[in-house]
């Protein structure tokens, strides 16, 4: 096995094109488990850990451009305000040691249906910046996941960054698991309220072959809020609206029975966390508006 250690981004892209048999490695928290257990024997590793281009983040107009290899720990510390759902989800990943190494680029590379970064990226309408020697293209998160642990990257492409719209309203992420740390989601959900666009964004995790949006739930919630004048009045969220939203989110899933939970449990749990996250996000909005600091629900 070869160890390829490019010193520059241009060299990394050239190596990626020349060596399609090389497995990229950023934080290694997925790749190394596979190697340690001899599940994969790739011909080469392509080490991305030395590329400054892949770390850090910058504000680019109404987006944050987040380097693919930036570890979760720094997302939790620095990006809570512009990217609340992604920061909340990052905080639930693994343990401190895993968050110090694991990255959103690696999460997307693995494209597990349970990846915690995925629901927030879907809910926020993020795009994945894929680069190769041929150039750069932007892939909407909703088109990025193509099957179980499969993604839309071409064999010569690397993820350079994700571009995530800066939050234009409250966002929430919730994840069901057996303990508070170190759990792969039984199911997960993110909601993003876009006040300026009068839209509700969603992302469902661990409840279908790929992470996905719950489009019908998004349209329902945005439509009902519009019809009741709530985008403007910011009055209390009707319980019936939140419950129906939860049901529509559950309907968007196509979960399976596995060791972590049954399909029926997942569907039920999703309807509950979808209802709650929407309720919490709306409460946060009302709190901001009234400035009284209480959850007037």
């Amino acid at each position: 096995m070869d160890y390829l250690q490019p010193a520059s981004w241009a060299e990394a892209l050239a190596l990626r094109a020349q060596r399609p048999d090389a497995v990229p490695v950023a934080g290694g928290t997925d790749v190394m488990v596979g190697l340690n257990f001899d599940r994969h024997r790739p011909a080469a590793l392509l080490d991305l850990s030395r590329l400054r281009e892949l770390t850090g983040w910058e504000r680019d107009g109404d987006h944050v451009r987040l380097g693919a290899a930036e570890p979760y720990t720094r997302i939790v510390q620095r990006l809570r305000d512009p990217l609340p759902a992604l920061a909340q989800a990052s905080r639930t990943v693994g343990s401190p040691q895993i968050r110090n190494r694991g990255s959103v680029g690696g999460n997307l590379g693995s494209a597990s249906p349970a990846g915690d970064a995925h629901p927030p990226l879907l809910a926020a309408g993020a795009t994945v910046e894929a680069a190769s020697v041929r150039g750069t293209r932007l892939i909407p998160a909703a088109e990025f996941f193509t099957g179980v642990k499969a993604n839309a990257l071409a064999p010569d492409e690397l993820i350079a960054a994700v571009r995530v719209p800066v939050a234009r309203g409250p966002q929430r992420f919730a994840k069901i698991g057996t303990r508070n740390a170190m759990v792969i989601a039984v199911c997960s959900f993110a909601v993003a309220l876009d006040l300026a666009g009068r839209r509700v964004g969603t992302g469902v995790g661990s409840a279908a072959p790929t992470p996905r949006r719950a489009t019908a739930a998004e349209e329902f919630a945005a439509g009902e809020l519009e019809a009741a004048g709530l985008w403007d009045s910011r009055g209390p969220l009707p319980g019936s609206l939140a419950r129906r939203f939860g049901q529509l989110v559950a309907d968007a899933a196509s979960p399976v029975d596995d060791v972590r939970g049954t399909a029926a449990y997942r569907r039920h749990a999703l309807s509950v966390i979808a209802r709650r996250t929407l309720t919490w996000a709306w409460a946060e909005l009302r709190k901001e508006t009234s400035g009284c600091g209480c959850h007037a629900m």
Partner: protein
């Protein structure tokens, strides 16, 4: 390949390192530093926790090549002149060590919390140590040890 990095303040080299090897393997099998323990090799137990460029990581999940020219500190490197570090001392005094297998990982993870220099709450301690498993102590004495270490760190630096 040849791997050269700084370990516990010294420049160290290892020859014949294979691309698939972890930093943990190199430390234990090639550099004679068996303090960091190998248990799960999948990031679940934390017994292999070391500092890499000042950040606690699971050495079992770091491809060895990523450590090139970087700073690694293992449990062996925490104390001065062969003595125990303040966190290690607190583990001994609080009775936080039984079989001791998990201890090096806990000590490094706890060190990273304690060195921040404030008195952590029990919740903060549990969160900071969520990536470390112990099958003997039931954790209570480990938490006592971290509180003790934090109070001494505070006293020493304040």
């Amino acid at each position: 390949m040849r791997l050269s990095c700084h370990v516990n303040g010294e420049r160290r080299c290892a020859d014949g390192v294979r691309a698939r090897e972890s930093l943990l393997f190199v430390l234990r099998e090639r550099m004679g530093l068996p303090g960091s323990k190998n248990a799960c090799e999948q990031g679940e137990c934390g017994s292999c926790t070391v500092y890499l460029d000042g950040v606690p990581v699971c050495a079992c999940l770091v491809p060895a090549g990523q450590a090139r020219d970087r700073q690694v500190v293992t449990v062996e490197g925490l104390g001065d002149d062969g003595g125990l570090d303040l966190v290690q001392e607190a583990f001994v005094e609080a009775g936080a060590v039984q079989c001791g297998f998990c201890t090096p990982g806990f000590v490094v993870a706890a060190h990273d919390l304690v060195r921040r220099g404030y008195a952590p709450t029990e919740e903060e301690i549990r969160e900071a140590l969520a990536g470390n498993l112990c099958r003997c102590t039931g954790y209570e004495k480990i938490i006592d040890a971290v509180k003790l270490a934090a109070s001494r760190w505070w006293a020493r630096s304040g």
